[in-house]
């Protein structure tokens, strides 16, 4: 049994996060405190959350406690089990890296006009909110923590509020967060009405009939899916995440989306505790579409942070593909394969937190030293910032799901579970799973294309603008934050058995089935189903790769001290200038052409007054026109109808109040 210790560490994490929030009030007068006190406290808080999570995962078992707050008949209950522990690890590890990184990054704000207490204070509250969501064991505390997380991140999104576009993005974010929150609340309401209490324990006990369970599932799927950024509800995400300061973007994309995934897993896998193939199909289809659309839209972006935000949509889609497969296999009684898919989804959850955090921190480093977000103005940064270049490369390889880094492991596991589709009884499901696998394969290949574009345009070649040419390496603290995440990306890719051994406690507790066979062949071999079906010796592949490359460099390149330099050949044409390089937009042009139907493309060539031609290209998200604009129009139309009530005469208002009261009394009686 744990786990008083684990819970103690979690409490310490929350206390430290609150302390970091409170102390940041002092930064109004002493700006330096933000980086010497507030951010280190933030990192310590994250570290204790990580320790709490690891303890919970290693020891297994469940720890519960009751806090003396909340409603008179329902005090706040907290519960730390393996699932909560896993997500505490996810939150802790990325927040720790952010805490290391931030002191260097926020230094740039010290001279500015931006209010520092807002940055530090809401940052601390944001972390508190996320930790509490994961720890909550009743719907009331869950919703309070959820709102704390949403509201504090709203203020962080609105941090650079002098641009109108940022204010609009922040408002949109707030709006969507609340529509999602409403759906989640209603979902809890459905479960509580059967369970008789808002405590999670009561909901877990309650056996919902299929109809009500489906309603609760649908509400949870919409609510958490909206927060996680599933297509078609994703359009707010690429607006809101990029405009926050970069270390906050890393937290939002890397961690907050995972909290939404946590909520979905908690409600559907744990509280509802039943699986139906219809739900699995819905999750699988939405997940596949999100993955593909996310990466295609990402390819069309040339703003680095927006591009990364669209990749979050893609990766959340991949996580939901895994969850959908797990639900599908569990619904049909194939628990072993369902567990493989579930572990794949969890593994991708931590992977995405790591590499997306890393990439956003890298984007922040570029922003810090070159003040540039537009890929088409970057170039040659690898020589200006070699460490950031190396870490960013590791992030790019990881997110493109290439061996021997971590993204590949989760994709491999997802494929392995999809390949067991032949065991399903229904022919329709049997053919649906391979199609989802094909979409996953297409997504992976397109992601690789996208990150060749990002890295090639930003870090290789020549600088496309003067300020990028003058970029300087970032301070040590920022490099350390990126380095921690890059190292973990490699470790999770090379030693999957170790980490799957840790994660194993989660399916064991939530689903009642562990993945013992995956690590049964020793730490070298990952065998999710059985050694005959599939095996992957990740450490061996990594060793072979590194040794052979090293050996090759030594054998072939020995005796050569320096390679002589010359002008680029380029087929003997005039020496290339920076403007002749492929830009991000040009790189993606073939893909834009092939998948053109999926985008809203506005491309035009207009003559200007000085006789030059001006080419403009605008690729926008179809989700706006298809899903958002109609809702906005409907709301406006309804609002116009409601205006009629507003006569300005107080007696009419009193009449309405009286009427409402009578109707309510009639309903109650």
């Amino acid at each position: 049994m744990i786990s008083v210790d684990a819970l103690w560490w979690a409490g310490l994490a929350i206390a430290l996060a609150l302390a970091s929030a409170a102390l940041s009030l002092l930064t109004a007068s002493v700006p330096r405190l933000l980086r010497v006190l507030v951010m280190p406290l933030f990192a310590l808080s994250a570290l204790s959350a990580l320790i709490a999570g690891l303890l919970a995962l290693i020891n297994g078992g469940v720890a519960v406690a009751e806090l003396p707050f909340g409603l008179p008949w329902l005090h706040w209950q907290v519960r730390l089990d393996a699932l909560a522990g896993f997500f505490l690890c996810v939150i802790g590890v990325v927040s720790f890296a952010v805490g290391l990184y931030a002191p260097g990054y926020v230094r740039g704000f010290e001279q500015g006009r931006d209010p520092l207490p807002v940055l530090g204070g809401f940052g601390g509250l944001f972390l508190t909110g996320m930790l509490l969501v994961v720890l909550a064991a009743d719907a009331f505390l869950f919703m309070v923590a959820w709102e704390l997380m949403s509201l504090s991140s709203y203020f962080l999104v609105a941090f650079h509020h002098d641009h109108a576009a940022n204010r609009r993005a922040a408002f949109l974010y707030l709006l969507m967060a609340h529509i999602g929150g409403l759906a989640i609340l209603l979902g809890f309401g459905v479960m509580a009405s059967v369970g008789g209490s808002f405590a999670f324990d009561a909901m877990r006990e309650a056996q919902l009939p299929f109809g009500w369970a489906s309603v609760a599932f649908a509400l949870a799927f919409i609510g958490f899916g909206m927060k996680a950024g599933l297509v078609p509800l994703h359009a707010w995400l690429p607006e809101a995440h990029p405009v926050a300061p970069s270390h906050i973007s890393a937290l939002m994309s890397g961690v907050m989306l995972k909290v939404a995934v946590y909520g979905f897993i908690r409600v559907v896998f744990d509280l509802l505790g039943q699986f139906h193939w219809q739900w699995g199909v819905a999750v699988l289809i939405i997940g596949s579409i999100s993955a593909l659309m996310g990466v295609l839209y990402a390819l069309m972006q040339h703003d680095l942070k927006r591009l990364l935000a669209y990749h979050s949509v893609e990766n959340i889609g991949i996580i939901f593909i895994g969850l959908g497969l797990a639900m599908l296999f569990y619904a049909s009684g194939h628990t072993v394969i369902g567990t493989v898919a579930f572990v794949a989804a969890l593994y991708h959850t931590i992977n995405h937190a790591l590499f997306k955090g890393l990439l956003f921190l890298g984007a922040g480093a570029i922003l810090h030293s070159a003040n540039e977000r537009d890929l088409d103005k970057m170039g040659g940064l690898l020589r200006r910032m070699p460490w950031t270049g190396l870490f960013f490369l590791i992030g790019c390889i990881s997110i493109s799901a290439l061996p021997p880094f971590n993204g590949f492991i989760s994709e491999w596991l997802t494929f392995q579970s999809a390949l067991q589709a032949w065991q399903l009884e229904s022919g329709v499901l049997r053919s649906l799973v391979p199609i989802a696998a094909a979409m996953l394969a297409l997504t992976g290949a397109l992601a690789a294309a996208c990150f060749v574009k990002v890295y090639g345009v930003a870090f290789l070649g020549q600088a496309r603008s003067r300020h990028v040419r003058r970029a300087r390496p970032v301070p040590l603290s920022m490099r350390a934050g990126q380095g921690v995440l890059a190292l973990l990306c490699l470790l999770l890719g090379v030693l999957p058995t170790v980490f799957i051994g840790l994660i194993n406690a989660v399916p064991q507790q939530v689903l009642g089935h562990g993945l013992v066979q995956a690590t049964a062949q020793g730490w070298l071999w990952l065998t999710p189903v059985s050694p005959q079906t599939a095996s992957y010796g990740a450490p061996l592949v990594a060793i072979a790769l590194f040794v052979a490359v090293g050996l090759g460099l030594w054998l072939v390149g020995r005796g050569v001290r320096r390679v002589r330099r010359c002008d680029a050949w380029d087929c003997g044409f005039a020496p290339p200038s920076a403007a002749m390089q492929y830009t991000a937009t040009a790189f993606a042009q073939p893909i834009r052409r092939v998948f053109g139907l999926l985008f809203h493309i506005d491309e035009r060539v207009e003559p200007q007054q000085n006789g030059h031609l001006r080419h403009s290209l605008q690729v926008s998200d179809r989700a706006w026109g298809l899903f958002y604009t109609p809702v906005v129009r409907a709301v406006e139309k309804t609002a116009r109808q409601v205006i009629r009530l507003q006569s300005g005469n107080v007696r009419v208002y009193l009449g309405w109040t009286l009427g409402t009261l009578l109707v309510l009394l009639w309903i109650m009686a």
Binding site: G380, P386, S400, A534, A568, Q581
Partner: protein, 317 residues
């Protein structure tokens, strides 16, 4: 794990590197004969590599460290991918280390660095090659995965040695899913190895080139490694087609006799595939770049049809 097994595996891994230039030389020779030319000797690719390894490597002023490291990474990743595919005998412990998804991943890793190296110098041709390579592979890679998944699902294993063994024991070639998968994989192989009609390996200074555009700035030993990696990739796809779909004759034990028969058989099969490739390259013309997606969509469609016909027709039956 006995010694002879590992010796045989090592031999196969070395054979991959040794045979790769020969296949390219053979295809070029046949193409030349078909075009009424005498053509260079089949050993010419070896001479080219030898010469390139001896030459001084030069780099552009704008090239970064990645440009220098990329040839080694590309070559090693391709070679490792190849070394997990049984060449002359089925027992191959490396197939358990890296299954077919890992092979696809390693090939993707090689391609990733190849494309980055193309963009590194900052020339227009390099960027063009990288953009097109990633565009073509984005469509080809899923098709390849679907084709091999058809086999893997039938054999209930993603381990290629098990797949080949399953194929050999159960004569399955006339299953509809196999025909679709074979057709899909052939199209993918053509596109991935940069052959006509998707790309032309014999062209420089042409606006349609893909692979050659990316390695335009390389010279000396770097170029040699890049060329060798491309030859290995051609051999890899050839062996994949030959051994997975037509496994007859491959050695089943670790004995010397089985291995030598396996070697003769695979060389014969590859020679036949080389002739087929040379004939198709002589008959067909190179496509416009924007016709290539249609070609690859066909490949993806065929591969997916293969997988679907397997799960619908063959699993239930």
């Amino acid at each position: 794990m006995n010694a002879s097994l590992w010796a045989l595996t090592l031999l196969q891994v070395l054979l991959y590197a040794a045979l790769a230039p020969l296949l390219v030389g053979w295809v070029r020779k046949i193409k030349a004969l078909l075009q009424n030319r005498k053509g260079a000797s089949v050993w010419q690719p070896y001479r080219d590599l030898y010469k390139l390894f001896g030459k001084e490597a030069r780099m552009a002023h704008t090239a970064s460290i990645l440009f220098r490291a990329a040839p080694y990474i590309v070559f090693v990743a391709t070679w490792l991918a190849a070394s997990a595919i049984p060449l002359i005998a089925i027992p191959m412990p490396t197939s358990a280390i890296a299954d077919v998804i890992v092979i696809a991943g390693l090939l993707a890793l090689a391609r990733f660095f190849l494309a980055l190296a193309g963009m590194d110098v900052g020339t227009a041709f390099g960027g063009m090659g990288a953009s097109r390579e990633m565009f073509v592979s984005a469509l080809a890679e899923p098709a390849m995965l679907m084709a091999v998944f058809t086999l893997a699902m039938t054999a209930h294993s993603t381990n290629l040695a098990s797949v080949v063994e399953y194929q050999l024991v159960n004569d399955n070639i006339l299953r509809p899913s196999y025909m679709f998968a074979l057709a899909g994989l052939m199209l993918v192989a053509i596109a991935e190895t940069g052959r006509i009609p998707a790309d032309n390996p014999a062209t420089h200074l042409e606006l349609t080139m893909i692979h050659e555009a990316m390695i335009l700035e390389y010279s000396g030993r770097h170029l040699a490694l890049m060329e060798w990696a491309a030859q290995l990739k051609l051999l890899l796809y050839g062996v994949l087609l030959a051994n997975v779909f037509f496994p007859w004759g491959i050695g089943q034990g670790t004995g010397f006799a089985a291995a030598s028969i396996g070697l003769v058989v695979i060389v014969t099969k590859l020679a036949l595939l080389g002739v087929a490739l040379a004939v198709s390259e002589t008959v067909l013309a190179k496509m416009r770049v924007f016709r290539v997606p249609a070609f690859l969509n066909l490949a993806l469609l065929l591969a997916l049809l293969g997988l679907l016909s397997h799960v619908i027709l063959e699993v239930g039956a």
